[in-house]
Each structure stands twice: as C-alpha cells, then as structure tokens.
Amino acid sequence: MSSYVIRGARLLGADPTDIAFDGGVITAVGDGATGDVEVDGTGLVALPGLVDLHTHVREPGREDAETVLTGSRAAARGGFTCVHAMANTEPVADTAGVVEQVWRLGREGGYCDVQPVGAVTVGLQGAQLAELGAMADSAAGVRVFSDDGKCVSDAVVMRRALEYVKAFDGVIAQHAQEPRLTEGAQMNEGPLSGELGLTGWPAVAEEAIIARDVLLAEHVGSRLHVCHLSTRGSVEIVRWAKSRGIDVTAEVTPHHLLLSDDLVRGNDPIYKVNPPLRSNDDVEAVREGLADGTIDIVATDHAPHPMEDKECEWSAAAFGMLGLETALSVVQQTMVDTGRLTWAQVADKMSTKPASIGRVENQGRPLAVGEPANIVLVDPSAKRTIDPRDTASLSRNNPYSGLTLPGEVVATFLRGRPTVRDRALVEGSNA
C-alpha cells in the first residue's frame, strides 16, 4: 500500500495543512508532511470518514434494490467509511449467522466497514427477544439493535431489551411509531392529509413512543437511541430527557432536514417515506435540535427501492428514499452554509458521535498521528445538480432529483486506501 500526503486541506474546516498516512495510519499532521502519493487538497475540507448509523443495504433478500457491495460503493461516494446495516432484511438479521454474513460481505467489498444492526425481536415481530447476546458475541460484534421499519411497541419487550443489552454495552435504536395510531398511514397528519384524503401519520404517534422510551431508559438505567426523529415535539422530549440526565441519543435524517410535506401535493411517491416528511415548522425544529446538540447525529436512513415500487399510485408505493450519496451535501446546505454548524461540528455529528453510539472503535477517530487514516475530502464550493441516474446504488428513488446541492466528495480513504479519488469511485478497491 502506498503512503499518501494530502497537501493544503482545511482540517475540519480550519487553516490549510498537510496530512500524511502510511499503512492505514496517520503518520504526520502539519506543514511539511511527506508521502509517496501527493493529493492536492487546495480548497478542500478534510473530515474523518463519515459513519452512518442507519443504512438499508437490502441484502440478503432484496438484491434487486441494493446489495452490501452496491450500498458500500454508494456510501464511499458519499464520504462514508462505515455504515450500519439495518436488520429488516429477508431473512431478518436476528441471528448470529445473518449478521456475520452481512459483515463478511462488507469486508469482501472493501468500500466501507459494514457494521450489522441486529433485530431486537425475532422476525421483527415485537414479541420475543432475538438472541442479542449471540449477535453481540459473533464476529460482527453487534452493539446496535433495532427493529427499524417497525416499532418495539410492547412496553415490556422494550423494557427487557433495554435492560438486557447492558450486559454487552449495547443500545436499542427505536423506530418510534405507535402502531395503532398509524394504521394505514400515508403522510404527515395535518391540513394537507385532510385535503388530499390520505390517512395521516400524526406526530403524536412518534412523540408518545419517545416519551415512553426515555422514561423506560431512565427507570432501568439503560442507553436508548431514537431513530429518525422528525417532529418538534420529539425534539422537545429529547431535550427534556437530556436535561434530566437520561442516557438518550437521537438522529435526524437529511431528508427531514431539507424536505417538507407540501411535496406530497404532487402525488409522486418519491416523497413517500417513514416517518413522513413533516411540516416546515418541524423542519425548523430539527435543524434547531441538531444545532443545539439535542439531536446528536445525522443518519441517512438510505432506503433503496426498485423502480416499480415507486412508479405507482401513492398508497401502493414503498416508504423510503436514498440518502448516502447526498447526505453531506444536504447537511452543508441546511446547516453549514446557514452558519448553524461548523465543519468540526459536522465531523462530530456525522463521524465521531455515530461511531461512539455504535461502539465502533476504529471509526470516527480524530485526524491525528497514530489514528486510523479514515479521511474524506470535500469540495464545499462545488455545486451538483442531482441526477438519480448518477449513482452507485442499484436504486433510483432519489428525492433530490433536479435540485442543485452544494459540496462534493473528492476523495474517501478507508484505512489509508482510496475508495474514491478525483470525485469517482476507485474500482476494485479491495485489490
């Protein structure tokens, strides 16, 4: 493996400097560092490789929508060096065998670390705990457990799960959706759902579960993570819980930072997602929450779907949108270019914190000597008009189609090896 030196990149957005790495480890930071391969970092921002706590790679089961390999390649293009693969595959990732398979496929692909998430309950059925300990002890070393796509709605099952994972420092990542309040739900419940005659998904269905779960976490002294928080009320509940010292973390998706429910008016299911796009007031609230630290991280909820599941009438369409290749641009547009977050804070919310929540030891580390060379170089002055066909994903359900977004990933290094160079994927990365 070659040694590299990045010249003149702005480390976490600060003044330009040089970063050298060799054998997967950062060897020097500062002017005059040397390496075999020179990378021009002029005008670029250097961040630690991004870590996604919420990715759907669809393998095993729906390899027509995405595979571990194609999802990893999309992740690399988005600046990620680690993704957490959600458990709602077919079969469900509720055994050591399935999580090890996903983990191994990630290693074979070599585009990013794929850290499987284990299901909380057998078959995501919400009734019986899956063998959480076996998944934790497997080669995949699972620490994040989630029934994402479904809510662990039974309070007793949720309590037991929160308690049980303490034995191996795990965390329950809850998809907060009260099932009875959201039967047949199609979009955010508000004036527009009433007008369009689409069954509403009320904010209270998310907030009621989050309120219950933070109280449960407090009661049993466990760690809770809230997936894709989307409403003002949810932000306020998490803010209150943190003020009480409850060990809760929360994520927001890029699409909930940028898009709102008025997009549903056109009836194009490209905007159908769960939780649904919310009101403009909710969008403002999640931006505030991310800026003030109530919301800890940005996670993509990258959810690939084949064309036929979106090219249909609204109620027949699948929930979900792509996110890996656009996440950093959306965060730049909504949070950095608006002055609400510095690049150093972006590094914290898209790399350091998600790695810490997932207990991934060699990701989300500082860009300092002796640390792993997981680095992404971003050109913040670039402008991209989003074309759904320009993707490494197998799917095209991109809600940003036609929008011009700022920022572009120029290079991604995974343990010193480039997975993206000159704004393009490096083919045969594992070779």
Partner: protein, 325 residues
C-alpha cells in the same frame, strides 16, 4: 377549458358555470325518444374502475353513449389488474388502444392525478372518485341540482347555505363539494361528530359544527353523507343508534328546515342510519333526481373535455399529416 378533471378545485367559476349550463342544455336529450347526439362519434372513452361502483360507472357509460362515443368498460375484477398488473401498465395498454378519455375510479387517493401527471396516458383523465380524496362530477351534479331547485339556473350559488352532514373524514364527495361550492359562492356548514372531521378542517372554507339541530334553520340544502357501519367498530362513534340520534335526518328535523330547502344524498343510502326512509322518500328529497342529473353533468364534462378544444387540435394534427404526405 381544462384538459383533465381531477379535482373540483381545478374549475374556476367560469368553467364550472359553463359545465352546468351545458348540462342544462343536454338534460333535454334524456327526455327525447332518441336519447343520442353524434358529438363524440368515433371517440373512445374508457371506464377504468379499480373499485366497484355500478352507479357511477353506468352513469358515465350512459353519458358517453348518449354522445355516441365508443365505451370500453375496464373493471379491476376479472382483468389483469387482479393478477398484479400495475396502474402504469394498465394505462399504457389503454393508451396503446387509443383511449381519448380515461374515466378512473380508484381506491387510492391521488391515483387519477398520478395517472395524469406521470403522462402514462395521453387521453383526458376524469376522476370518478379516488379513495377518500375527491369525486368532482358528484359535486357538479350536486351543484346542478341545487341550481335548479334554488332558483339559480344560469348563475352561481352565491349566498346559498348548504349543510353537509356525516363522515367528512372518509368522504370524497364532501371534499369536492366544498371546493366547488366555495367557487360558486355558497356558504357551507359541515356537521359531524369530532371523530369524523379531518385534522386541519379549520383550513377549509367552511363553518363546522357538532350540532345538527342548530344548523338546520337557515339551510337551503342539506346533504347527508353515507356513514359506513364499520366505522363504529373503529371507535369513531359508539353505536349506529347513537349516530342516528345525533346526526341522522328524520322527519322531526326535516320539519325544522325552511320550506324551500331540499334534502340530498350522494347514495348509496343507509336508510335508518344517516337518513330515515320517510325523509329519503319525502317530496323534498331530490335524491333520485340527483342520479338523473348525474348523466347530464357527465355528458357536459365529456362534451367539453373531448368535443371542444381537444377535438379541434386533433383535426389540426390530421391536416399537418396530410401536408407531409
């Protein structure tokens, strides 16, 4: 004139009155011994029904046939749709067969809009009821019926008070009626139990009330909506009897209406639930007439969407082709 009829909100006052006035002229055709005009000869109209609705389908079918159009009935049952064919493929098939208009009834709200906006068919798309969203031709036939009984033929419904009662949450009829009645200047009062009102109804151009008795005395027309008994099982209200007591129209309530007021219902009725048999069959009930008027209004919609501007542009295309040859 618009090219599709997806929502009653697509119609401005001029378009709406033009449709109603045209329907007024076409109503006469139904009373002739030969109920047929040659206007749409050679045009193909498809009734694309993904949901059972014999009443609406035969109304559109009668309307198209009286204008001499060829009518193809495509029902989801017994077709490839039941084998999993998508809306897109069905639409492309109809397009390939040369449909000039697609009249679509679908259980999914927004499906007609999707069909029109995704451009899967080039024909005019007419919404014949989509999920719990809209049913614009029902609103047109209701307005048509109100105009005739409230002395407003040739004009709008400015100053008229219309009270609509029932399951607003799940009603496509009410959404279209509110939009059209607002365009025509009527004052709409909606009466329902709070559980059957959608979130955000305060954004609608209507007054709302939970009290039917208080809403009767000034009404020029009362429209009772169908309430499905299964709503009871989903806790929208405690029992059918309690619903009838609080929100049903019986003769006692009928007697409190002004003398000129009419009683309407889009059908099918649940006699004994939202309306008693006495009221349904009362001289002031115009429910059967609504059905008759439905054919005339649908004739007017087809005539204006297919017979007007669209027909002229088709002729222009023909002449261009001849020039090329």
């Amino acid at each position: 004139m618009i090219t599709n009829l997806l929502s009653a909100g697509d119609l401005d006052r001029t378009d709406a009155i033009r449709i109603l006035d045209t329907a007024e002229e076409l109503l006469g055709v139904a009373s002739r011994p030969i109920k047929k005009l040659p206007t749409l000869r050679g045009r193909t109209v498809v009734n694309l029904f993904f949901e059972d609705s014999t009443r609406t389908r035969i109304s559109f079918e009668a309307a198209a046939k009286r204008l001499s159009a060829d009518v193809i009935n495509f029902s989801a049952k017994g077709s490839s749709v039941s084998k999993g064919e998508s809306l897109k493929d069905t639409a492309l098939t109809l397009q390939a067969m040369g449909a000039d208009a697609v009249i679509i009834r679908h259980h999914s709200s927004g499906a007609p809009h999707r069909l029109a906006q995704a451009k899967w068919t080039k024909g005019a798309v007419i919404n014949a009821g989509d999920g719990t969203h809209e049913h614009p031709t029902q609103a047109l036939l209701d307005a048509f019926t109100m105009r005739r009984h409230l002395g407003a033929v040739g004009g709008d419904l400015a100053g008229k008070n219309v009270t609509i009662v029932g399951d607003v949450l799940h009603s496509r009829v009410v959404r279209s009626n509110v939009l059209l009645l607002h365009t025509l200047g009527a004052h709409v009062t909606i009466v329902a139990p709070p559980t059957l009102l959608p979130v955000g109804i305060d954004h609608w151009p209507v007054e709302t009330s939970y009290d039917l008795d208080a809403s009767l005395e000034k009404a020029d027309a009362v429209m009772m909506l169908r309430v499905q008994a299964e709503r009871m099982n989903a806790s929208y209200f405690p029992s059918a009897r309690e619903y009838s007591r609080r929100y049903g129209l019986d003769t006692a309530r009928l007697s409190r209406l002004p003398d000129h007021a009419i009683v309407m219902h889009p059908g099918p009725m649940n006699r004994g639930m939202e309306i008693t048999a006495d009221v349904a069959d009362h001289v002031r009930s115009v429910i059967v007439e609504q059905v008759t008027n439905g054919v005339a209004v649908r004739m007017a919609v087809l005539y204006l969407l297919l017979g007007g501007a669209a027909g002229e542009s088709a002729e222009e295309e023909d002449s261009t082709d001849k020039d090329r040859v």
